[in-house]
């Protein structure tokens, strides 16, 4: 018997069609409704369920939420479901209900939570359960910058079925990104790294067996960490940026590296955790030699300006181009399909000067030469 959680954010994606770039917050929702927006998430969730029920071959019990947060859709396909809670906290469903549902599903020890929504929904679930339960997103929102979503709703259903029947066993820590919706509406895209969710991860079904079995992402991150740590210099301040690849360097050093923050490391010891720009500048002033270690965040390949705004133009100018160390798993570089790595520090002149070909550490004694563009 497999247990599956289903959370549908019924209002996700409504802002998109009416040009509102997101539906976070009740006022935006009212605006969207006034502009004649219609729900998008239910249809997307239906497509995913359609695929899921077509493929699934194991007994399953669902946990879902009342009405348009899941039950209305699910009851068409199965009677085997329970409600996480009988009614919403308010008159309409809200993000509080999403958080509550995710927590309850975790307590019920579900094998997977399938959710329909966008970055905001992913963020709510991430805040509720973190990495405790595998999760898979049905892309339904206006903003999909997070890596926690399948490519299409149908793919989400198929992957969920394969995961539940044990055909897919790999799990991957994937970025939950969120952009500032106010800024987005004003025409600016500033995604930040909010946290990580654990998603089922299927390598291409048929691999080139010639290439042999690839090591796990975790093993590659450890190899990268080994390479970085082997070459660390005494008396040099290392500023470790956010992300799991950089965190592996902290793990190798035996320090508690913050996952989402910028930390300072000197001679193998943590000397500053989750630093803000001011603190970073102060540390930089105190040390003659400074290097900064960054990793591309999310699918677009940003190494500066997404998820690490603490590494501000002032910090980067002080550190200098040649002291930027880029680390990345080879898969992440491959997923760019040839597009360059990007910088968007907020200072166009600085960005321009940072362009060029950089060595990217991709493993133990392995580098790739890769372009950075502004």
């Amino acid at each position: 018997m497999k247990k599956i959680g289903l959370i549908v954010n019924p209002i996700a994606g409504m802002g998109g069609a009416v040009g509102l770039k997101g539906t976070d917050g009740i006022h935006t929702l009212e605006k969207a409704l006034a502009l004649g927006a219609t729900p998008r998430a239910p249809q997307r969730a239906r497509e995913a369920l359609e695929a899921l029920f077509k493929c699934i071959n194991v007994d399953s019990l669902f946990y879902t939420c009342p009405q348009d947060m899941g039950e209305n859709l699910l009851k068409v396909y199965t009677k085997n479901y329970k409600l996480a809670f009988p009614k919403f906290k308010g008159e309409l469903s809200s993000s509080l209900d999403t958080i509550e549902a995710a927590k309850l599903m975790k307590e019920c020890k579900v094998d997977l939570i399938l959710f329909a929504g966008g970055d905001g929904t992913a963020r709510d679930i991430c805040s509720a359960i973190g990495l405790d339960v595998p999760v898979l997103g049905i892309p339904s929102g206006v903003k999909i910058h997070s890596a926690a979503f399948a490519v299409t709703p149908a793919k989400a259903g198929e992957l969920a079925a394969r995961f539940l029947s044990g055909k897919v066993r790999n799990l991957k820590e994937s970025e939950v990104m969120d952009i500032d919706e106010e800024a987005y509406r004003a025409g600016e895209v500033k995604a930040r790294l909010f946290g990580y969710l654990l998603i089922p991860w299927e390598r291409n079904k048929i691999q080139s067996r010639k290439a042999g079995t690839m090591p796990s992402e975790r093993a590659i991150q450890q190899a990268i960490a080994e390479e970085v740590v082997t070459n660390m210099e005494e008396g040099t301040l290392y500023l470790l940026g956010p992300g799991t690849t950089v965190k592996a360097i902290g793990d190798r050093l035996g320090i508690e590296k913050s996952l989402l923050g910028v930390d300072g490391v000197l001679d193998g010891s943590l000397i500053g955790k989750d630093l803000i720009e001011k603190e970073i500048l102060k540390l930089v002033e105190q040390h003659k030699k400074v290097k900064v270690i960054v990793s591309p965040i999310g699918g677009q390949g940003y190494i500066l300006g997404r998820g690490n705004l603490q590494l501000s133009p002032r910090v980067i100018r002080r550190v200098a181009k040649e002291n930027i160390i880029i680390v990345s798993t080879p898969q992440k570089i491959a997923s760019l399909h040839g597009s360059p790595l990007l910088v968007d520090s907020g200072d166009a002149n600085l960005d321009k000067s940072l362009r060029g070909v950089y060595p990217v550490i991709t493993g133990y004694r392995e580098r790739m030469m890769y372009r950075v563009e502004a």
């Binding site: 299409t152 066993r169 079904k205 048929i206 080139s208 067996r209 079995t213 040839g338 004694r365 790739m368």
Partner: protein, 529 residues
Amino acid sequence: MGMNMETKLRDFHQARWDEPIIYELSREGERGILIPEVDEVMRYPDEGLEEIPQELRREAPPNLPEMGQMRVLRHYLRLSQENLGADLNIDIGQGTCTMKYSPKINDQLAANPKVSELHPFQSQETVQGLLKMMYETEQYLKGISGMDRFSLHPGGGSHAIFTIASIVRAWVDSRGESDKRDEIITTIFSHPSNAAASKLKGFKVITIYPGPDGRPDIEALKAAVSERTAALFITNPEDIGIYNSRIKEFTDIVHSVGGLCSYDQANLNGIMGLTRAREAGFDLCFYNLHKTFSSPHGCGGPGGGVVGVTEELAQFLPVPLVSFDETTGKYFLDYDVPNTIGKVKDFYGVVPVILRAYAWIRSLGEEGLKEAAKVALLNNNYIFKKILDIKGASAPYAEGELRMEQVRYSWEKLYKDTGVTTTDIQNRMFDFGVHYWTSHEPWIVPEPFTIEPTESYSKDELDEFIAILKHVANEAYTNPEIVKTAPHKSVIHHIDHDYLDDPEKWAITWRAYKKKYTGYFEPRKNRDE
């Protein structure tokens, strides 16, 4: 009725035998041949045995399958019917592998008892013909490449790359630069063995990505080279089929910092006789005889990865070489290689493969070799044009330019339009009796496939393959389910590759299979229920 000549689609169905593993067919005591009894003395020869340490002596005979001759024959014929080999299908879907026709007469030559019955320890006096054949093959390869000396020993492409990496290692060490020159540069579209062999020989690996035109980024190479550069390991044209006409600039840049340049010419088919490693500035190169020079590829049989080097590097080649003594007029196995890396293969190397290459080169001659390459280019650009006309297909990089002997295509648009992946297309192609391969990882080209028609196939056959591809792509738009649930007419529906990714579960030998059988693999009787 035969196939519909209008649509060029066959009503195909592959044989499905559900054939067990040979060990499952084994019955204790069953024999193929009964050998006459031998006397006691022969049965227990004591002499020499005492030199074998006790712990290395077998206590029980090896566990080999026991079967009668007819059953063995049926077993392997059934397995062969569950395959789509180069002799059975229009095998142009396995791009990069050069699945061309290997004339059967060459197989007959290689199987001739005059060759097959030779013993590797036979006196060299008695194998002068074989040695002469090997010597002359080397002379032809020197002409084709412009290199000064060849080793015919490596048994395949990766083995050749390993030999080359060993030579680079010996060269670096001989110059006292072991601690200094510790980096080898390669490209993402070169075969991954270039990086792997370099690592194995203790080098750091730097990989270069292509620029927007699909050629390796020359600016990245400039940023990568230094006094630490031991060598560049590069392919041209790379697997995507685009010729890098600036290749001499690449070798010049590496030479300017004192490094060596190795040319991965495993697949020579597009430039054979047209351009040479020497003129492109390379110090080492290798050819897969089983791609370009008339030996079946891959699991079709043993291969040959011949390594050529310049005069300066000949001192490091593996032993023995085959040389000719002018005073005695004899050919001989030459162990006089001052700084040899040692042996890379037993005895003479893979003689049947070398013999096929010799026969093939002799039968074609210089003009024939050039013609073969040109026809391969022509065939490829014909099929290139036809595939670009198929809805949903594209060829990334270098838009509007012709290609060399193969093309890496993308179903990115088809996937976005229909949700059908290149793997789905692959599975559906089997239903029409042709093999199709996605591409080497990593998939930098999204939803990739690589087609290499070589010079061997007729226009009719190329058209048939295209008709199938076009039909399947059309199905993706009109009836995606039939593609996504394919194959429907093949030997087996789906092989679960997860078995191969988990050390707890994979089984490379029958013994390992039995050990893990009750754990992960379900016993056969349960599976059938």
